[in-house]
């Protein structure tokens, strides 16, 4: 029994990625229904940070996606209300010693070759950019293309900006996919009935693997836990996104054990955010004193002034992780009508616009803006 008017596409998940898919699909003229079992931004999107980074990405397919996204974020910042707190503030990566600085310079050289703007900052100029940085650092690289957004507000306003082309169904869980006798997709079954459409986009984030299983296909998405520390509100102490060189190695690691290298950033509302740890611990929310201790130690080592500042709270979220650190974006060759847009791990806010743009092209039969082969959901 259909409940509601016809849609061209159903997006499962009202997080940052689902919102971007819905926005660009609606922009391409499609009627979209977005279904989420909870609130808008109630999943990982509401439990992470809003770094839009090119600086931490190796040249390769993810960097290409990030560069396209950076351009789209600039566009979106003009189209959406200022309340999404988009700030093109730039990133600063610092190295503690000379070997670290050399590695950083080498990394930056390769990124520049791939089109990233990266400016070397010698040790004696670091404090012009960040007056409160610890003394004695060996140098750094400045990435003006790094930016920041408030993820929950960006998600909510993206969904609203498309007007009545997007219908939201919240508090409704998808429990199965509907197929016709010939195997073609007809829509989804939910806790409140059936919703019909010829295409379904899996934007269920860390739960994307479970959703794929409903369609009988395997997608090995796993949660990679992260903690973030939030300080009391401060005047502008930290100007850029600042992190130490070890961060990139942590991001690229597949290890299950705890990795922490603090990314430190101020927010327009005043608190400084320090994130984030990475570990595989299932969907376990129990506080990890080790993770918090290392975040705090990392942050105070870079910014000694933070030592007397109080941490107000901490929160935890689950990054949607795929084993090769690349998201699954595009049609699933094994299940006609099903598209995936999940598995963005620690970069889903940054990569959301490009992902949505690609999905909209796939839905309308257009040419994707970049080579989506590396993101093929059938690769596992």
């Amino acid at each position: 029994m259909p409940t509601g008017k016809l849609s061209d596409v159903i997006v499962i998940g009202a997080g940052m990625v689902g919102a971007a898919c819905a926005y660009y699909a609606a922009g391409a003229g499609l009627r979209v229904t977005v279904i989420d079992r909870g609130s808008v931004a109630g999943g990982t999107t509401g439990a992470g940070e809003g770094n839009l980074l090119v600086s931490d990405k190796e040249p390769g397919p993810e960097l290409e996606l990030a560069r396209l996204s950076a351009r789209l974020w600039t566009e979106l910042s003009g189209a959406l209300p200022a309340r999404i707190e988009y700030e093109p503030k730039g990133g600063l990566i610092v190295a503690a010693d000379e070997p670290g600085a050399a590695a950083l310079r080498d990394f930056a050289d390769r990124q520049r070759a791939a089109g990233v703007t990266a400016e070397e900052i010698p040790a004696d100029r670091l404090h012009d950019l960040e007056p409160h940085l610890a003394p004695g650092l060996a140098g750094g690289v400045h990435y003006p293309q790094d930016a920041q957004v408030m993820p929950a507000l960006a998600t909510a306003h993206l969904l609203r900006a498309a007007g009545n082309r997007i219908r939201l169904r919240l508090g409704e869980e998808v429990t199965g996919l509907l197929t016709a006798p010939d195997g073609t997709l007809r829509g989804v079954r939910t806790t409140r009935g059936e919703v019909h459409a010829p295409y379904v986009v899996n934007a269920a984030g860390a739960w994307g693997g479970e959703l794929a299983r409903l369609a009988g296909v395997e997608l090995p998405v796993r949660p990679r836990r992260g903690f973030v520390l939030v300080t009391e509100p401060l005047p502008r102490v930290v100007r850029h996104k600042v992190y130490a060189a070890g961060y990139m190695a942590d991001v690229a690691s597949g290890s299950a054990t705890l990795q922490t290298s603090a990314v430190i950033e101020g927010t327009p509302a005043g608190p400084v955010l320090i994130g984030a740890s990475r570990e595989h611990a299932g969907f376990d929310r129990t506080l990890s004193p080790q993770a918090l201790q290392r975040l705090a130690a990392g942050a105070t080592a870079l910014f000694p002034v933070l030592g007397t500042v109080r941490a107000m709270r901490t929160y935890t979220g689950f990054r949607p992780y795929l084993p090769d650190h690349l998201p699954a974006i595009g049609p699933d060759p094994r299940a006609p009508g099903l598209l995936h847009a999940c598995g963005h791990e620690g970069a889903g806010i940054g990569l959301a616009p490009a992902t949505g743009f690609v999905i909209a092209r796939c839905l309308t039969g257009g040419e994707p803006p970049l080579d989506i082969g590396p993101f093929d959901p059938g690769r596992f």
Partner: protein, 478 residues
Amino acid sequence: MTDSASEPYDLAVVGAGPAGLAGAVAAAELGLGVVLLDASAHTGGQFYRQPAPQARAARPEALHHDWSAYAGLRRRLAESSVRHLPGHHVWSITHEAPAWSVHCLTGDDGSDEQPVRVRARAVLLATGAYERHLPFPGWTLPGVVSAGGAQAMLKSGLVLPGRRIVVAGSGPLLLAVASSLAAAGARVPALVEASGYLAYARHPRALAANPQKAAEALVHGAALLRHGVRLRSRSAVTAVHGTDRVEAVTVTRLDRTWRPVQGSGRRIACDALAVGHGLVPQIELATALGCATRTSADGTSALVLGPLQETSVRGLWAAGETGGVGGVRLALAEGELAGIAVAARLGAGRARGSRIVQLRRRRDRMRAFADAMAAAHTPGPGWRCWLADDTDVCRCEEVTAGRIREAVDDLGARDARTVKLLTRAGMGWCQGRMCGPAVACLAARDGAPEPPPERRPFAVPVPMSVLAQCADQPNTAP
């Protein structure tokens, strides 16, 4: 960080109110090594407050019934081996087998440099409760104080928030607050209660089984009559008047759902307003460790406790308001029961079978009564109609009811957590202790609100330098 020498203790008790005191003393008398931690400089908790020395109160007990129970506990504490650590703010508890680590900040406001970690084989959480606030137009005007705050000021400093004080809100504490304000010399022109006291009549069994409670209410009732306090039930303060300070309030009748009845408002002149809507169990140390919670009859979250006061996490016990708001006598009984039960678990002391049976019976009776009271004072959904769009709901971050309604109606928030993300309500200094219940009600589109999850991994704000060293230490073996 300092670790004290005698560690690990058998039992660390967090909170030295009635429940914690009773638990610490009972356990120590059975032979356990006990440490008793409290943020405050004194024992006694919310109820047994001591006047500051400069207030020179001749008889602090005049404002308390049951002072003798407290005096007895204090004497036993002094005679016991319990190590009392005042001025210790517990910000987190962690488990590193085989013992618990209780992480504390020290100093009056927790700002001393030297953090302290205490290790113990069992922990008793007796952290009490904090007041529930429901916003209404004008509640941020100077002269509006919390009912509990007014009572606390009176007990510890013997000062009155005004000379002509309206007491309003809901719950049995209002009776106590109004009668002590009146006894201390204030004029209390009205006690405004949102529910109907008749609601108690629906629980005759619980009332009959608790004659002490009934007597208490009668005593307060008589005191109110003597002081000429008018009781107005099924009513609420829906507006506060005055430019710099309270000059008057509007009291409006409510229907069964707490929706104001149009045209029934009456102005009452006053220079202060004391408001409270009952108490919310303070359980974040427990929820951070994964303890199971239940929704109490009054819509707050309380810990799920076993027959001998253990939480769902083995080795972690709770007593008093943490298991649901129930008053001082219940707290005393539960504390003692928990103390005995911990001693039994750790193999200390003789079996105290008959005392356990007696305490359990007393506790069950008082819990039943507390649940009946809680049910009678649950905020009705209609209270949301008290709010104008420009009424501040979150005072710390200055978020209005209108902004919260927008987040729910237009932006897709369905619970307190996503409202907070989209508006910052509850992100400020008090971490939602003030606005949490109200935000949860506003976020609930239909039906009863989910109580906001009492998830505050840090029970108090923690300096980063303290966090940076918290997990460094090797485990001290028992």
